[in-house]
């Protein structure tokens, strides 16, 4: 057993630190604090990563990726989270990119991959539908062939940041034969096509992240089909194998927990800092101990992958435990804010409210509830673990 990084890995870590110091500079970090700056900051950040050749750590080098080992990727993630720099927007770099280089044709690769790497396009994911959530294969959005086009009719829902997107990767039904999984195709759709309506869905944090996307006789050229017709389910599933290591969010949770401790030392009740409140201490420690364990669970997965053995059974914990911890930290932060966790700050300044982090805590708590729903809900994750790990 040896948890040391190699000399080369340590040198890489130094390079990452130097890069982050330069790239996550005052300007971007300041901008990130402004409301409504999300897309600008993401695009600016991803272009800096691309300049360095680090936009897509795990893509093969031939497609413009960094070709990192899982350990290098882990080191980068840890360092990135430690300075509070954002993760990349996943839809292009982590989701559709790997599908295109794995299953797309040469034209599609040349057209889309460089633009994904440089954040020239904003992608959104068209999977869930009003009638198809955890049971995704029951999706009904229809694509009918008409000459060189498909004509799309139907609706997608919970489409994250579709209001920014100019492209969608979309699962559509091209056949009703056989099992539901067998009639699904993987299409790339230009969001500026006539017949597409994007309707905002305001979430319980009061913000607009989600959308419903409605398709009415939308024409999509057949050249935008990935791979073969009716094989889309296979391509979509392969996505799950990518980027497994960062799914636990350990590095971000460590940063958030450290911040929580700092806040708890400053927050006072009856003359006593909340960090000295016995029950509050217990709740922090409950989370910290789980997080300390999860950090090593992630390292175990990483060690296994570094040997080329695949992620191992313990990888099934990463999302379940990772999201449980994320939610627990948000819950603690909301409770720490006390009365001020209930305030909707809107346009008022933190000074006018009289408290700095209550509004952030409220929004963070409400939004964190999504973590156990998206990307395979807790219950679906447990079904999968029961089946594939426990053999039930």
């Amino acid at each position: 057993m040896d948890i040391n990084f190699s000399e080369a890995e340590l040198a890489f870590r130094d390079e990452v630190r130097a890069f982050l110091k330069e790239a996550w500079n005052g300007e971007l970090a300041e901008k990130a604090k402004q409301p409504g700056s999300y897309k600008d900051v993401q695009v600016g950040w991803e272009r800096k990563l691309n300049e360095k050749g680090w936009a897509a750590p795990l893509w093969p080098v031939e497609h413009g990726g960094a070709g990192w080992t899982p350990t290098q990727s882990y080191i980068f993630e840890s360092e990135r989270a430690a300075v509070g720099a954002p993760d990349v927007s996943p839809f292009g770099l982590k989701m559709v990119g790997p599908v295109i280089y794995s299953f797309g044709n040469e034209e599609q690769k040349q057209k889309f991959l460089p633009r994904i790497l440089n954040a020239d396009d904003w992608w959104c994911q068209g999977y869930s539908e009003p009638g198809a959530g955890s049971d995704l294969a029951s999706l009904k959005t229809k694509a009918e062939r008409d000459g060189d086009d498909y004509i799309i009719n139907g609706a997608k829902i919970w489409t994250t940041l579709a209001q920014h997107a100019n492209w969608m990767f979309c699962l559509v039904r091209t056949s009703n034969e056989g099992k539901p999984q067998q009639g699904i195709s993987f299409l790339l759709i230009d969001m500026n096509s006539p017949g597409i309506t994007v309707r905002p869905i305001v979430t319980i944090d009061g913000e607009h992240h989600l959308n419903e996307v409605i398709f009415e006789d939308v024409r999509v050229p057949v050249e935008n089909l990935i791979g073969e017709e009716n094989k889309g389910w296979t391509y979509a599933k392969s996505l799950l194998a990518h980027e497994r290591t960062a799914i636990a969010g350990v590095a971000d949770s460590k940063r958030n927990l450290a911040e929580l401790k700092t806040l708890a030392a400053a927050e006072v009740n009856g003359g006593r800092a909340m960090i000295d409140d016995p029950l509050f201490r217990q709740r922090i420690c409950d989370i910290e101990i789980e997080l300390m364990a999860l950090e090593f669970t992630e390292l175990r997965v990483l060690a296994s992958m570094s040997k080329g053995n695949g992620p191992g059974v313990e990888s099934s914990l990463l999302k379940l435990k990772g999201t449980e911890i994320q939610q627990s930290i948000q819950e603690l932060k909301l409770d720490l804010a006390g009365y001020f966790g209930t305030v909707v700050q809107d346009a008022a300044s933190a000074e006018a409210v009289g408290h700095a982090f209550g509004d952030v805590a409220r929004r963070g708590f409400m939004m964190s509830r999504a973590a156990t729903i998206y990307g395979g809900s807790d219950e679906v994750q447990k079904n999968i673990t029961a089946k594939f790990v426990l053999g039930l």
């Binding site: 057993m1 040896d2 948890i3 040391n4 990084f5 350990t71 401790k261 030392a265 800092a273 960090i275 000295d276 201490r281 217990q282 922090i284 420690c285 409950d286 910290e288 101990i289 789980e290 300390m292 364990a293 999860l294 950090e295 090593f296 669970t297 390292l299 175990r300 990483l302 060690a303 570094s306 040997k307 059974v313 313990e314 099934s316 914990l317 379940l320 435990k321 219950e379 447990k382 079904n383 673990t385 029961a386 790990v389 426990l390 053999g391 039930l392």
Partner: protein
Amino acid sequence: MNFDFSEEQQMLKDSVARFVQDEYDFEARNKVVANEAGFSQENWQKFAELGWLSIPFSETLGGFGGGATDTMVVMEELGKGLVAEPFIASVLMFGGLLQSTAQSDERDALIGGIIEGSVQGAVAYAEPQSRFEMQDVRCRAEQDGDAYRLSGEKSLVLNAMSADKIIVSARVSGEQSDEQGIALFLVDANAEGLSKTSLRTMDAQVVANIALENVTAIALCGANEGLALLKQMRQQVIVALAAEALGIMEKLNATTLEYCKTRKQFGVAIGSFQALQHRMVDTFMASEQCKSLLYRAVCSIEQGEDVANIEKNVLALKVMVGKAGKLIGGEAIQLHGGMGMTDELDVGHYVRRLLTINAAFGDADYQQQRFAELSLAS
């Protein structure tokens, strides 16, 4: 970075696993614990021949020179077999403490005896009033020439009935809970003035309450060194207990899973019910998380990280093992239904060992408060 075992460690692990599989099934184990001593002297000699009793001792003392990883692999396998022989009490606690005290001919001879299986030892640190605080010591030591005389009471001393020698913590000076003024003493288990009341704990170990009245003793360390030595031993033994607990949790989870795959109700295997599947996923995750913290603690010890870091990792481990042990034990009984309540099934025996491990050296609640002091200094 890797979590692989060395070839030597893998062989050690395999040899313990083979012993458990070939010679220590549940029936054999029941016979062993029915002995008055609570274990089998024959098995103990076998452990000596296989070299297991030498693991934590340095090579200069005739030992294997093993580290935390070696102890871990042995304990995990002993846990799977619910092995009752006093490896922890005699080798890790008594032997471990002896090894950390100053060199003397008697010390080296005793360690040699442990290694060859001829010496049994025990450590008496808890008292009727002390609960989990090792510095709460009423037992007094009065100097008498070169030796000392001990008077007081010690509680639930593991392996005391079989021990040849007992290490006793006693107060040379100071008040009942002072950290200073505690030394460790070696006494003969059959010394005049020492009386033992034999008891059993729920995991079938034989323990004893001990009363001391002017018992002749030799000091093993200075008056202000005893507590630190005890704490160091506690840290090492907690990691070993956690490895044993992990072996037990893995065994219980496997037993429960197998039962749910074969037990039929309503015409189907009960493992097909989602309510049960999700509970088994929870217990699987709990044992994997314990394994991760065990590796974390062991790695930090092996790499010589700073003392506070190691202590924090070990405390986190003890907390999680205590809680996960209750969860996994409780679910194993629940999912076995009525069978889970019967003493003829091994499940309850494993659960009782997990509960004993939780209490050992301070339970999860106690250790979590100590963890908080390290983690949340305001």
